[in-house]
């Protein structure tokens, strides 16, 4: 790979196939989403894997989009915050974040929601402590942490401990 080569990239984003030609190999998945596909819901908070604002699902697993070169996502399936709801019907995690006031400024929220949705799939909801630990890859400077835990617990269908 030479940095001045251009690449063809095919990947599926939110159920839609994309074929991108002339791709600079330095482009990260995050910048691809934001700058090429205009999917700006995924946020750039640090660009170093230190905040979690760019969390998306790659083949169903949550990952930091800033830590992935777009070319290495060839053939993969990406879900972003824009693709989480089913049409107008919010994903249960999205609804729970509203119901439990799990955000303030909203900038980290897409990453929090994507992380929470994956966390529930992973089954890391046996206790509030487990939720807290497994939500710790997403910084929230407004510090909605307790409400986020409430939202995740509710979305996972668990009663308060």
């Amino acid at each position: 790979m030479n940095f001045h080569d251009r690449h063809l990239l095919r990947l599926r984003v939110n159920g839609e196939d994309h074929s991108l030609s002339d791709l600079d190999p330095r482009v990260t998945l995050l910048d691809l989403l934001r700058e090429r596909l205009q999917l700006t819901g995924t946020k750039k908070g640090c660009n170093f894997g230190e905040c979690g604002a760019c969390t998306v699902h790659l083949d169903g697993q949550r990952v930091n989009a800033c830590m992935i070169l777009a070319v290495s996502a060839e053939g993969r399936e990406v879900t972003t915050i824009e693709g989480l709801a089913n049409g107008n019907a919010l994903h249960p995690v999205q609804q729970a974040f509203i119901d439990h006031d799990g955000f303030q400024c909203g900038f980290c929220t897409p990453g929090q929601v994507m992380s929470a949705a994956a966390l529930i799939e992973e089954g890391h909801t046996s206790s509030d402590a487990e939720i807290r630990e497994w939500m710790s890859g997403n910084l929230c400077r407004c510090s909605a942490y307790p409400q986020i835990v409430e939202a995740v617990r509710a979305a996972a269908g668990r009663a308060s401990q």
């Binding site: 640090c46 170093f48 400024c105 509030d128």
Partner: protein
């Protein structure tokens, strides 16, 4: 009744679906991405900037240096009667503009801008710009101890950031000290700390002929407009600033920094739209921080615990250009009845980046020192820390003697203590496995900052829908929900009938979103505008405006059933909409009264002395802050404030590298801020039932910063309770606890 209801956030859906757009989410045709090249030395001159390698990078369009920049204009306050010769101050964040010459005054200062057709090209280009310097003699922050800081400290000079007299005294301090049964003298230190908002600031600047439009991450669209117009030497009418959502402010986006100006200049020079999204590293040297501070406090009290004297000497770090003063002494002026006070603020100048207010400014640092010292005094006198505070409760403002607009601190103490079980807490050392358990409390307080003169407009349409328009900003505090609540309340309509437009200089000017001032100020303006709309409708309905009420889409005389529908009134008078306007002039409210918010924070911490660990176990915050418009968003805001204070107490610090004149780490792995796992669910927020109509017709007086005050002291006091160790230097990290 919508006011005081826990209404769910109106911005919920856009924020959980990723549809809420922040400054860096905007794009434009033919966009150029800007990346800053910043100085790596703290003082000196750039002798040459080699740009050829950068320009050779494919996709790099231009590299701008100081030689390309226009001469930026000087900002003078648009307020009538403003002194045009006075040093620049807010909304300008720092008077020094980089890239106006070769001079470097702090590490991280922008010295060149690389513009690329793609972000990747601009970033690669920025790596290839080579700077050569002539180094100057750097004045760097001295060692973090009182002797060194005291020696380096100087009186602040005239500055746009000197908002209050730097010294204050009342009574006879010597008598107070002589009459004391106990005194505490101690120095409290805190490091520089950054806002670390999750959204790094970003600006998209676009020129259309002579008109400039900015999408900006800011807490003050009108401030950006004024400063940009001044710097670019164009009339304010030619500048439009839009900020629909801002990804966390906390102070760092309050005033206007050089990067916003540089983005506009780059766009003008190139004739293309320019987006400058600051890197996380840029955010450490281009957006301010709460400066390193040292506070020496002397408290003296008689046997009953009544304060007889209070002396405080505060020194904060600032730049060589502007004397930014962090007025920690303001807390001491307003918290306790004291016959004698002597307070002094000084600064330590160094070649560092400019500090700025940060949640919670002034009283945040102030309560850290004062509330720690109060705890020390309580232990010396063997009085319960809460009782000590009650003994010196200030029934009037200690500094001025003025009556309070309202104050229910006694209730806040009492109700908080009850919720926490403070009076029943175990007095013997408590253990939970390896953890020593401790309890601590502190008083919380913030000044009541009221910004003149926010305005709002409320448009009531014939179909019973409402549009509220006000040029304030969303930073997540809940105003997007609270303002519609206020309008809905006055106009007797459900929330879903009310829409709100904010964050645009095409809307009525409503001031900055800082200083915990939005609800009491802009909220009061919305209230007045809604009342104006209702009055106009009353006149259309041939009713006396002050005798009407509106409910369920009807307007009617108070206490009379039925009434006419909004649609009928407007239809019969052939009116499509009524436009109510309102504003809030603080000078007209609460004259002669002292205003503050108050509260008490109670905390339980665990300390593992073997591993030096400190963890939060539970907390109760109990507040006297006037009327709470939305208890749901307010609870979140106070919880966030307490966690902010926890970060200050337990981990946050931006270390000044002693040789290089830079912050050691400019990233979120080198600078710790709290994560979810740090925060227990057991945080109780309580508000005393209170309405302060002197502070604002809305009855509230601001909560955004109050929650973050007192916390650091409460934590240190709890650590003392757990371990017997008095920690006087933040943050309370393992090496201090072993």
């Amino acid at each position: 009744m919508m006011i005081s209801q826990p209404v769910s956030r109106t911005d919920g859906r856009v924020k959980v679906t990723g549809c809420a757009r922040y400054a860096a989410d905007y794009s434009a045709a033919d966009l150029l991405h800007a990346v800053l090249v910043t100085a790596t030395i703290p003082v000196g001159r750039v002798t040459s900037i080699a740009v050829d390698d950068a320009l050779a990078e494919k996709g790099v369009v231009r590299v701008l240096t100081h030689e390309d920049m226009p001469k930026f204009g000087r900002f003078t306050s648009p307020r009538p009667g403003a002194d045009t010769e006075a040093p620049e101050g807010p909304p300008v964040a720092q008077s020094f503009m980089p890239m106006q010459g070769d001079e470097i005054r702090h590490e991280g200062q922008p010295v060149a801008i690389v513009l690329g057709g793609t972000l990747e090209a601009a970033e690669a280009g920025a790596h290839r710009v080579r700077l050569h310097y002539e180094r100057g003699d750097a004045e760097l922050p001295v060692a973090a101890d009182w002797t060194a800081i005291d020696k380096a400290a100087v009186e602040p000079k005239e500055s746009g950031f000197l908002f209050v007299e730097p010294t204050f005294s009342k009574g006879e301090i010597d008598d107070g000290l002589a009459n004391a049964a106990a005194t505490v003298e101690a120095v409290y230190l805190q490091p520089s700390r950054h806002h670390n908002a999750m959204e790094p600031s970003a600006t998209l600047a676009e020129w259309n002929d002579s008109e400039l439009t900015l999408h900006d991450a800011t807490k003050h669209v009108y401030g950006v407009r004024q400063v940009l117009a001044a710097r670019m030497n164009i009339p304010v009418e030619k500048v439009r600033v839009i900020s629909r959502h801002t990804g966390g402010g906390f102070g760092g986006k309050g005033w206007i920094w050089p990067h916003q100006v540089l983005a506009a200049a780059a766009a003008r020079i190139t004739g293309r739209p320019v987006r400058l999204a600051l890197s996380r590293a840029n955010a450490y040297s281009c957006l301010g921080y709460q400066p390193r501070m040292a506070q020496k406090i002397v408290l003296a009290a008689d046997r009953s615990g009544k304060l007889t004297a209070m002396q405080q000497d505060v020194v904060n770090l600032t730049t060589v250009t502007d004397d930014f003063v962090e007025f920690a002494t303001e807390a001491s002026k307003g918290l306790y009845a004291t016959p004698a006070m002597r307070l002094r603020q000084r600064v330590e100048r160094a070649h560092v980046a400019m500090p700025t207010p940060m949640r919670a400014p002034v009283e945040g640092p102030g309560t850290w020192a004062l509330e720690s010292a109060m705890d020390e005094l309580a232990h010396r006198l063997v009085i319960d820390p809460l009782d000590l505070r009650l003994v010196s409760h200030a029934d009037t403002d200690p500094a001025t003697g003025r009556p309070w607009s309202s104050k229910k601190l006694r209730e806040a103490y009492e109700e908080g203590a009850r919720l926490f079980g403070w009076r029943e807490r175990p007095r013997e050392p408590q253990r939970d496995g390896d953890w020593l358990i401790g309890y601590g409390m502190a008083t919380c307080s913030m000044g009541c900052f009221r910004n003149p003169t926010p305005a709002a407009e409320v448009r009531l349409h014939r179909d019973g829908t409402v549009l509220v328009r006000t040029g304030t900003q969303d930073i997540g505090t809940g105003t997007l929900t609270i303002f519609p609540q206020i309008a809905a309340d006055v106009l007797g309509l459900p929330m879903e009938k009310v829409e709100l437009e904010m964050g645009d200089t095409q809307l009525p000017e409503a001031g900055p979103t800082y200083g915990s001032s939005s609800t009491k100020g802009v909220g009061a303006a919305v209230l007045a505008a809604a009342e104006d709309a209702r009055s106009q409708l009353a006149r259309l309905a041939n009713l006396l405006p002050y005798k009407v009420e509106m409910q369920d889409g009807h307007i009617r005389r108070k206490g009379v059933a039925g009434g006419q529908t909004i649609a009928d009134v407007m239809h019969h008078t052939d009116v499509g909409e009524v436009i109510g306007s309102g504003s809030f002039d603080p000078a007209q409210h609460g004259k002669g009264l002292a205003m503050r918010t108050f509260g008490a924070i109670f905390m339980e911490v665990g300390v593992d002395p073997g591993l030096g660990l400190l963890r939060l176990r539970r907390a109760v915050g109990s507040y006297s802050a006037g009327r709470i418009i939305n208890p749901r968003t307010a609870r979140s805001q106070m919880t966030g404030g307490i966690i902010w204070g926890w970060g200050m107490a337990a981990m946050e610090q931006s270390k000044h590298e002693p040789m290089l004149g830079r912050f050691l780490s400019k990233n979120l792995s080198g600078v710790a801020i709290p994560v979810n796992a740090d925060i227990p669910g057991d945080i109780i927020i309580h508000f005393v039932d209170e309405v302060d109509e002197h502070a604002s017709p809305i009855g509230g007086k601001g909560i955004g910063e109050l929650g973050a005050t007192g916390v650091a002291a409460a934590v240190a006091n709890a650590v003392f309770d757990a371990t017997g160790k008095r920690i006087r230097e933040l943050p309370i990290t393992p090496e201090k606890l072993l």
